[in-house]
Amino acid sequence: MNYRKIRLITSIVLFLLVSVSASLQAVEPGKLIMDTIDKGILILKDPALKGEEKVQERRQKLWEEISPVFNFEEMSKRALGLYWKKCSPEEKKEFVELFTSILKDAYIGKTDTYSGEKIVLIKEKIESNYANVQTRFVTINGTEVLVGFCMMDTQEKWKVYDVVIEGVSMVNNYRNQFNSILVKSSYKELVQKIKEKKARG
């Protein structure tokens, strides 16, 4: 008899615990960004991953840690703008893959020169399922750079769809470039140009 009661109580407690932790999992956007940055910095500072021969391993670890926070499909969609709708599902898939790898190649290497920059959370603004997280990067030269993360709630998870550095939107910048190519030539040529860029590294 007593044993059943204990089992009932434990299961209730367990249920409560699980539901509480589930609700905690929908981390606030600002905290998510800062936690991700902290995790990234830990990898960059890891003595076991320092040195020339560890570069690729370090970049890969960093990518695995950071990439889940980004919504690459949304970024591709926004970067391609109106032309996105004209693409077939296969083309969309190919484009997302290409754009993701371009972003990875372009920005992951920039972390190699990390030398103790500090990142501070300034504010976060949430409006229904969109959020904006403002941070300040302070370089070792004392230069302050404002970095904003535009996020949206996708399937109960906040994900970044744009990074805005000193008022310059990364996705809009690509959209402008893609547009200037698409206006003059075709989608095929744009893909070709992106592939060439990828090959160049």
């Binding site: 969609k77 109106l82 190649d105 805005v164 008022g167």
Partner: protein
């Protein structure tokens, strides 16, 4: 020299004024896109038209779309290529050597020194924009940094008194007075600009005491001083910033143009 600057100034003003009527129509987006965007039921992306119609802006279109007029793009692209080569094959190697020769502290002091001398530019433009608090901050900074900061080599005004530099320039002042930016121009050596920013640059140069070097050392001396300052800047952050914009780009010319226009837009709004 003075006459030439004045001439350039009026030339620019007349271009800007004549531009005000047309600049709104010069979209870099092809025209056939706009009606299509309107007919689209689904709203994937906020279009230029949507934003201009003054709809309630949700958080995700917080960034204003700035239209860039670029009628002389073929010329600008040629100058961009020239500037890019100059950076890559001349300035970058020089600044890399310079960076190795001088410790960072020295290079930051050189930057501080130049920025401190340039105070009249920020002070006057604060006043012209009615930023009295900004102007007095600049005055206080100048006094502190010139004395305690040993002639401007250090920036105790910021580190000790928490007085931030007020980055106001003549281009921003002109924008505050509703002068339109006019077409985009890429200048040899100086890089991205617009007609308005070019006039602003001339104004800032006149207000900048460093320019007086022209009377002592001649035009070549002034050019050399500026080249030295730019080289110092490249060794600190400017080179990395330029590379961060152009390297990941599919079309570096458009990427730099967009980044420049957006950055200036943000500065003007501040």
């Amino acid at each position: 020299m003075g006459k030439f600057a004045l001439l350039l100034f009026f030339f620019g003003v007349s271009i800007c004024l004549s531009q005000t009527r047309v600049s709104g129509m010069e979209l870099s987006v092809p025209e056939e896109q706009t009606p299509e965007a309107k007919s689209d039921g689904e709203n994937i992306l906020p279009t230029v038209a949507d934003i201009k119609m003054g709809e309630q802006e949700p958080l995700y279109v917080e960034l204003e779309t700035v239209l860039i007029s670029d009628p002389i793009q073929p010329y600008n692209r040629a100058i961009f290529d020239f500037n890019d080569d100059t950076y890559r094959y001349v300035m970058k190697p020089i600044s890399t050597g310079y960076k190795k020769a001088f410790p960072k502290k020295v290079r930051i002091s050189i930057r501080n020194f130049f920025l401190n001398i340039k105070m009249p530019v920020r002070f006057v433009n604060c006043l012209l924009q009615g930023k009295i608090e900004g102007a007095s901050t600049e005055m206080a900074r100048f006094i502190i940094n010139t004395t305690i900061g040993l002639g401007g080599l250090f920036d105790p005004a910021k580190s000790q008194f928490h007085l931030e530099r007020q980055d106001e320039d003549f281009g921003q002042t002109l924008a505050k007075y509703k002068l339109k930016s006019g077409p985009y121009i890429e200048w040899p050596f100086l890089g991205p600009s617009t007609v308005r920013e070019t006039i602003g640059y001339v104004g800032d140069t006149i207000l900048n005491p460093v320019s007086f070097i022209v009377f002592i050392a001649g035009p070549l001396g002034a050019f050399g001083t500026n080249a030295f300052y730019q080289n110092n800047e490249i060794s600190l952050d400017k080179g990395a910033t330029y590379e961060n914009i152009t390297e990941p780009a599919i079309d570096p010319y458009i990427a730099l143009q967009y980044a420049y226009i957006q950055y200036r837009h943000k500065k003007i709004k501040e």
